[in-house]
């Protein structure tokens, strides 16, 4: 039942990170379900609950043609990082990064309480970009939240980032795979907006890569 799918590594390890409330879990479910429909064996590890309020969150996706793997990725083993918040990309890279990792990152910061209180400074986006560039093989920064605000719902930054990840061409997914999951799992009044966000993400990455 497995379609002809080539993975750059097996298992291929994706981390989706962000801050609690940014739609991390939703994003990992959609990507996981789309890959699972291709016949791939997907394992997703995540944490949620009270401990995540305002905290850093991560979803670990293991994509394999063969087996079920650990829901936690071993240190240093991330292949693709999708980061819904800039500073969270650094935090993930410090544990799971390696010189060959690819990074897609949203540019909009979510300030930690220590930044709101003035006890800590949040780095400028240019500085952040140069650091992530240094720690990755390739990286792409997108103003996903700003674009999502134009769609009227900042939460859609997660779907824009998924669109961009599919657009980069690393994940073995097509728009039709994403659309099938959206049609099946989302209420009908939300489907079009999510598809629009997905297409926006693909267009944004196409503009950068070109």
């Amino acid at each position: 039942m497995m379609k002809n799918v080539n993975l750059p590594h097996d298992p291929y390890n994706v981390i989706i990170t962000g801050v609690g409330g940014q739609g991390n879990v939703m994003a990992s479910r959609i990507v996981g379900n789309a890959l699972s429909r291709l016949g791939l064996r997907v394992t997703i590890g995540e944490t949620f609950g009270a401990s995540q309020r305002g905290g850093s969150v991560m979803s670990h996706l293991r994509i394999s043609t063969e087996s079920t793997w650990s829901p936690q990725i071993p240190a240093g083993s991330c292949h693709l990082l999708i980061s819904l918040e800039p500073s969270e990309s650094l935090r993930v890279l410090s544990s799971y990064g390696n010189p060959n990792v690819n990074v897609l990152c949203n540019t909009r910061p979510v300030h930690a309480i220590s930044v709101i209180s003035g006890d800590r400074d949040y780095p400028g986006i240019d500085e952040m970009k140069s650091w992530v560039e240094e720690l990755s093989e390739s990286c792409w920064f997108l103003p996903a939240t700003e674009k999502a605000l134009e769609l009227g719902q900042p939460i859609l930054a997660n779907i824009i980032m998924i669109g961009a990840a599919v657009g980069v061409g690393i994940l073995p997914l097509k728009r039709s795979d994403f659309e099938a999951v959206i049609r099946e799992t989302m209420p009908s009044d939300k489907q079009e907006l999510n598809l629009e966000a997905f297409d926006l993400g693909r267009a944004m990455i196409a503009a950068i890569v070109a």
């Binding site: 305002g54 990725i73 071993p74 240093g76």
Partner: protein, 644 residues
């Protein structure tokens, strides 16, 4: 979700561990399901509640875990398959009933699913519930992946009917809240007829009354059942061995740790050197099976969470057989190979195995890791836990904190279990001074309130949530009223079991499956006990403060119900009440006499501090428009405008 009911048998789906457990229960033909919400277990009951109207299935969110076990046991006594579901501490709550249930035995298959939280990722403890199986002498199963989570639940019902006793199935956060591939089985057509047979001979286990008496008779029978379970476990398909016939070292593990061990053996390329014994039946241990594997080598690594349960039980068998199989070396928790606390992960297993077998392993180039860690230190400010933007608890604790300061008698607040537990931290102005189990805040307050005869003059307040109120506060409340304990109970009523995802509780007019049910009025219950009761909106800071000050001056038991819906509730998410903005002309920033009350003390995530411009601001993406910050700004610089 739809695949839980409609998935085609034989098809493979990506299911959350909890969904796999729910599907397993459906494949077993479960009829009665009861639980109390608790991370990481809640999705099991939620999933079953959603499909309950389409099947002949009764699902309830019980008032607490003990009642959930009792409701499920009633189903079993009437001949139906039944399941009780809870997080780890729920087993503690229900353990008194469970002790007696284990003695009487069951009729229709009965399974208790308990989801432990190693590392306390979403708990106030990392308690182990596996020990209950040994202590109470009942069988224990632990699924080692997602497929097993489904299959094992189904088998647990069969086992329960074979031994006529309740069976425990233990999951953990990294299984319950993780997702993986699961191939579905058939949903059975079951004829369900409930009838409690109680007229038979008093000692007849299937037709007589269900009673613990006489205890010695039942206890003896209970131990016979354990022998029967052990015999089943000797040949169980849930115990598997992968590896060479004579490995250099054998890993013995189970549950989510099984996946970490499998990962390690693969990553280090040790398939030809290291064996992997995965145990799914962990109490009672199948002695012959363990012996067979102990004979294969002399070195063992035991990987488990959190307390060395498997380690101790395997070592007992190794000690009993020592004269026949010779001495064995174990790398596990008791020798310090693995830490005695916190959850496991692949990295701990990789590091331990690499060291024992002297295999060089670096997860990433050391220079890369150092650089990444340095950049994280300087560029990624740590995220302290905080109440959400617009959370009613921030407003409630703001007032509680300020009132205690104004009162000036060194009063304090006893905390309880819910999102508001975070008020031990700066996000709740460090207002909570005790934090234990569900309902304990009021019990402790009841005790503190009686210490006046020893000279204690400090005002005593307890805060509890609405779901917690019904779960375990009622006995403590009645105790406090009856003994005239001089305390104030603040009920933070946000209209649902918010922390675990808005499951309904007895205070709401709807049940788990969405049916209309009578709601029990918290304020009326408190009034009926004789307490002085007030109801306020915590977003109305002034009125809440005046009321609390008034209550602190009244003697006896006082209750303040602070009603405001959770900021994440569907109603609140539908739209903002206020547009909030900062008038930069009026904001004085650091120069404000308030010392930046908004961003330095109140610290709602919806606020911003512009260090360069020296003004506060609103983050429009995060602000949910509760408008409370406008009430706390002394300069009137924060403006709120009702959204049309």
């Amino acid at each position: 979700m739809s695949q839980i009911l409609n998935g085609i048998p034989g098809s493979r789906h990506l299911l959350m561990g909890n969904e796999a457990i729910a599907r397993g229960a459906l494949e077993a033909g479960v009829s009665v399901v009861a639980g109390y919400p608790g991370t990481p277990s809640s999705e099991i009951v939620e999933t079953l509640a959603k499909v309950s109207s389409k099947l002949n299935l009764y699902v309830e969110w019980s008032v607490n875990e003990k009642v959930a076990m009792e409701v499920a046991a009633a189903g079993s006594f009437a001949g139906l398959r039944s399941m009780a579901v809870m997080k780890q501490n729920g087993v503690n709550v229900g353990s008194d009933f469970l002790l007696h249930l284990a003695l009487t035995g069951t009729r229709g298959g009965m399974v208790i699913v308990h989801c432990d939280d190693p590392g306390a990722l979403s708990s106030a403890n990392e308690g182990e519930s596996r020990h209950f199986a040994r202590m109470l002498e009942i069988p224990l199963l632990e699924p080692g992946d997602f497929q097993e989570a489904k299959n094992m639940i189904k088998w647990a019902f069969e086992l329960s009917e074979t031994v006529h006793n309740v069976v425990m199935v233990r999951s953990v956060t990294r299984l319950s809240h993780a997702s993986g591939p699961v191939t579905l089985g058939e949903l059975p057509e079951v004829e369900k007829n409930a009838y409690f047979n109680h007229n038979g001979f008093i000692l007849d286990p299937l037709e007589g009354p269900v009673s613990c008496l006489p205890v010695p008779h039942h206890h003896e029978r209970q131990q016979e059942k354990m022998k029967k379970a052990a015999a089943e476990f000797e040949v169980s398909q849930f115990n598997t061995y992968n590896g060479p016939p004579r490995p250099e070292l054998m890993v013995i593990t189970g549950s989510a740790c099984h996946l970490y061990c499998k990962e390690t053996i693969n990553l280090l390329g040790l398939q030809g050197r290291v064996g992997l014994l995965k145990l799914g039946t962990t109490w009672p241990l199948p002695k012959q099976l363990i012996r067979t594997h102990l004979e294969k080598t002399d070195r063992f690594m035991i990987v488990e969470e959190v307390i060395p349960f498997l380690e101790e039980n395997v070592k007992i068998i190794a000690a009993e057989l020592a004269s026949e199989i010779g001495p064995k070396t174990f790398f596990a928790k008791r020798d310090g190979t693995f830490p005695g606390t916190n959850e496991m992960n692949p990295d701990l297993v990789i590091a331990a195995l690499a060291e024992i077998l002297e295999i060089p392993y670096e997860p990433a180039p050391p220079a890369y890791r150092r650089r990444a860690q340095d950049l994280t230190q300087s560029g990624a400010p740590g995220r302290d836990l905080t109440f959400c933007a617009g959370c009613p608890h921030r407003a409630s604790f703001w007032t509680l904190h300020n009132v205690l300061q104004l009162d000036g008698r060194e009063g304090f607040v006893c905390g309880d279990i819910g999102c508001y537990s975070l008020a031990v931290l700066p996000t709740g102005f460090s207002t909570l001074k005790t934090l234990h189990s569900m309902g304990s805040g009021v019990g402790l307050a009841s005790g503190f309130g009686k210490l006046g005869q020893f000279g204690m003059m400090q005002p005593v307040i307890a805060t509890v949530g609405d779901s917690t109120f019904f779960h375990a506060v009622l006995p403590a409340l009645i105790n406090a009223v009856h003994h005239q304990s001089d305390i104030t109970i603040v009920i933070l009523d946000n209209s649902g079991t918010a922390m675990t995802g808005f499951q309904p509780h007895p205070g709401l007019p709807v049940d788990a499956s969405g049916n209309a049910v009578p709601a029990i009025d918290i304020a009326a219950v408190c009034e009926a006990t004789g307490a002085t009761v007030r109801i306020r909106d915590p977003f109305d800071i002034d009125s809440t403060r005046e009321t609390l000050l008034e209550l602190l001056d009244i003697s006896g038991l006082k209750v303040l119900v602070l009603k405001q819906k959770c900021a994440l509730s569907p109603e609140k998410k539908a739209g903002k009440q206020f547009d909030v903005s900062v008038d930069e002309e009026i904001c004085l920033g650091q120069n404000c006499g308030c010392n930046r009350l908004c961003t330095r003390i109140f610290k709602c995530p919806g606020l911003k501090w512009d260090g360069e411009g020296q003004v506060s601001g609103i983050d429009d993406v995060i602000c949910v428009g509760c408008g409370v910050c406008a009430s706390i700004c002394p300069s009137g610089a924060i403006r709120r405008k009702e959204v049309a």
